[in-house]
């Protein structure tokens, strides 16, 4: 049984942030030099959707890995106005400062982020030498046209193959008019017609069984150069990266579509420092115990493995 968790509060740019530290179980103390900072993505706070982050932190601690999770400014219990995931660098730095201070002997931190927190981690990691690895789950790479293309490709095509849709059609419950309007909106957006309104919601498919909703941190539009920023972050960070992908998640599909469409991205993902894992049936937030536990097991194994072998390569990597 790991030791008790600790509640922490620390300042960031004049506001107070709230965090929970899960100290490592003592039996595995030599590994305490590497901790995992869990960063919250989507409209969530530090416990995570269905407590995934709370349970993940406990699972890591039980395996000898200290873990901390926190609310950045404007989220959960932390103070300040609500903010976009593209503007949390100061919060990440303050959290790592506090995490290192709370765990004596800890030398490096792996940032673990789901959805837009994965993107935020990519922006930040290259600027902090203490960050020695990244675990990125279903990274958020949404642009309006990319979203429309992914919806068309992955949602509509799949829906056409589902018996429930055809039952609805047969029983007269399917609203053709609404679906058609939604589809034409998507087609327009997929050709770039919606870019005059960056971040504007692409019309959702009107059918009740719509794809899993997005889990962005806020309704604020992402900056138009999101893909370029992500790519610069990936290139600028020399450490190992674990990419975990849900098979049944539009956000993940949009990320993979972005990768497929670019030679540079394909090259980045093919590098030996990148490991990829896929849970084919999992949804965006890994909302079943089996999926959650699998993610925790992959994370713990990877943190142990790269902590032993990846660190030297990481030290050699030049940093600005």
């Amino acid at each position: 049984m790991p030791p008790d968790e600790q509640a922490l509060t620390f300042p960031c740019a004049g506001e107070w942030l709230t965090a929970i530290l899960s100290p490592a179980a003592q039996c595995a103390s030599p590994l305490q030099r590497r901790g995992v900072l869990i960063v919250v993505g989507g409209p969530q706070y530090r416990a995570g959707s269905h407590r995934q982050f709370a349970l993940l932190a406990r699972a890591l601690a039980a395996q000898g890995i200290p873990a901390m999770r926190f609310d950045y400014r404007g989220m959960g219990d932390s103070g300040g106005p609500a903010r976009n995931f593209e503007d949390v660098d100061s919060d990440l730095r303050a959290a790592i400062d506090r995490f290192m201070a709370a765990v004596p002997g800890m030398e490096e931190v792996v940032i673990w982020g789901l959805c837009d927190a994965a993107s935020a981690a990519l922006f930040y990691a290259q600027h902090d030498r203490r960050v020695s690895g990244l675990v990125l789950l279903n990274p958020w790479a949404r642009t309006p046209d990319g979203h429309a293309r992914a919806t068309l490709k992955h949602y509509y095509v799949e829906r056409l193959l589902q018996p429930a849709l055809w039952k609805k059609v047969a029983s007269g419950q399917f609203e053709f008019g609404k679906a058609l309007r939604s589809l034409t909106g998507l087609l327009r957006a997929s050709r770039g017609g919606a870019t005059e309104q960056p971040g504007a919601a692409v019309p959702a498919p009107s059918d009740a069984a719509a794809p899993a909703p997005r889990a962005s941190a806020s309704a604020m539009p992402a900056s138009p150069n999101l893909h370029a920023r992500m790519q610069a972050g990936w290139q600028g960070f020399p450490g190992p990266i674990l990419l975990i992908i849900s098979g049944a998640d539009l956000t993940a599909q949009e990320f993979l579509d972005m990768v497929k469409a670019s030679r540079q991205w394909r090259k980045l993902l093919a590098a030996p420092r990148v490991q990829r894992r896929t849970l084919p049936a999992a949804d965006h937030t890994f909302s079943r115990r089996e999926w959650r536990d699998q993610v925790a097991a992959w994370t713990a194994a990877w943190v142990h493995e790269t902590g032993q072998t990846g660190n030297r390569a990481h030290e050699i990597g030049a940093r600005a």
């Binding site: 103070g79 609500a82 049936a281």
Partner: protein
């Protein structure tokens, strides 16, 4: 000067340790203590979505001289335990523990402030404690009025998810949730939207209804959120309020316009509710 940054931070801590650990966030009152409130959060994902509103209201109450304790119930948020092991009775005890800690810390009598299912729990706890020590007040935000209906709505998440993943059509008849209720009645725990719900907890929720409580002998402020201002209380809320009133409670009702922040896709704030809640509290007894 930024008033929030100038104020001392709310103090996060764990009440007790091990399996008894409950995450708490204490907001000390600014100035002399005018009263105290224990916040009881809503159920499952509604708790996450409303976390920011709870924090905003807690800070506003502290600014107005109230001590506030936010407590995560067993198996919820940052507290010990697994959601699947949570029981209504444990949550009742958690509320009593929170009240005792808050009163000792602040030196003020503490009332209960609950959102959604947390409001139903607050009514239940108030009734339970009525003999030993009547509460000074209840703040109820959009209470769940009927536990059975609430459970059905929660079960619909599973039906919808089954439709999506298996292509099974559970949407056009009530067989979906009825079958799930049968499974619960047969003693089978269900995993719904990432939360495992135990049959005992489901049964406890199913049998609770806001109009069935012995009314607490204290002022009750009932807040409902409507899409537009000027709307009346919803029929279900009106029935519950009149039942409580008929049994002797003094219930003030407030309908404010705003988003249903506990259920919205993004995190939403409802300033009108924050303001209305502060306005509903008695005037401070400042001499000047």
């Amino acid at each position: 000067m930024n008033t929030i940054a100038a104020a001392p931070p709310a103090q996060p801590f764990f009440l007790d340790s091990g399996a008894a650990a409950r995450f708490c966030l204490y907001h000390a009152p600014v100035g002399a203590c005018r009263g105290a409130w224990l916040y009881l959060h809503p159920f499952a994902e509604e708790m996450n979505k409303s976390r920011r509103m709870a924090a905003l209201q807690a800070r506003a109450l502290a600014q107005h001289g109230y001590a506030v304790l936010q407590l995560d119930l067993y198996g919820c948020g940052d507290s010990a335990g697994d959601f699947g092991d949570a029981r209504w009775e444990i949550w009742q005890e958690d509320a009593a523990r929170g009240l005792a800690w808050l009163e000792q810390q602040s030196g003020c009598a503490a009332g209960l402030w609950g959102l959604r299912l947390g409001a139903l729990l607050a009514l239940d706890v108030a009734q339970q404690m009525a003999q030993a020590r009547p509460l000074p007040g209840l703040l109820l935000w959009q209470p769940v009025t009927n536990g059975s209906q609430f459970l059905t709505q929660f079960l619909r998440l599973k039906v919808a998810s089954q439709m999506l993943t298996d292509g099974r059509d559970g949407g056009n008849n009530s067989g979906g949730t009825a079958a799930l209720k049968q499974s619960l009645a047969a003693g089978q725990a269900l995993e719904i939207a990432g939360y495992t719900i135990d049959p005992a907890l489901a049964l406890a929720i199913e049998t609770r209804s806001a109009d069935k409580f012995t009314p607490p002998a204290c002022p009750v402020h009932w807040f409902d959120i409507a899409a537009e201002s000027g709307r009346p209380l919803s029929p279900a809320a009106a029935r519950a309020v009149s039942a409580l009133g008929a049994a002797g409670a003094t219930v003030s009702t407030h309908v404010v316009a705003g988003p249903q922040f506990w259920a919205t896709q993004e995190i939403e704030e409802c300033q009108t509710l924050l303001d209305a809640t502060i306005e509903s509290l008695p005037e401070p007894c400042h001499a000047a």
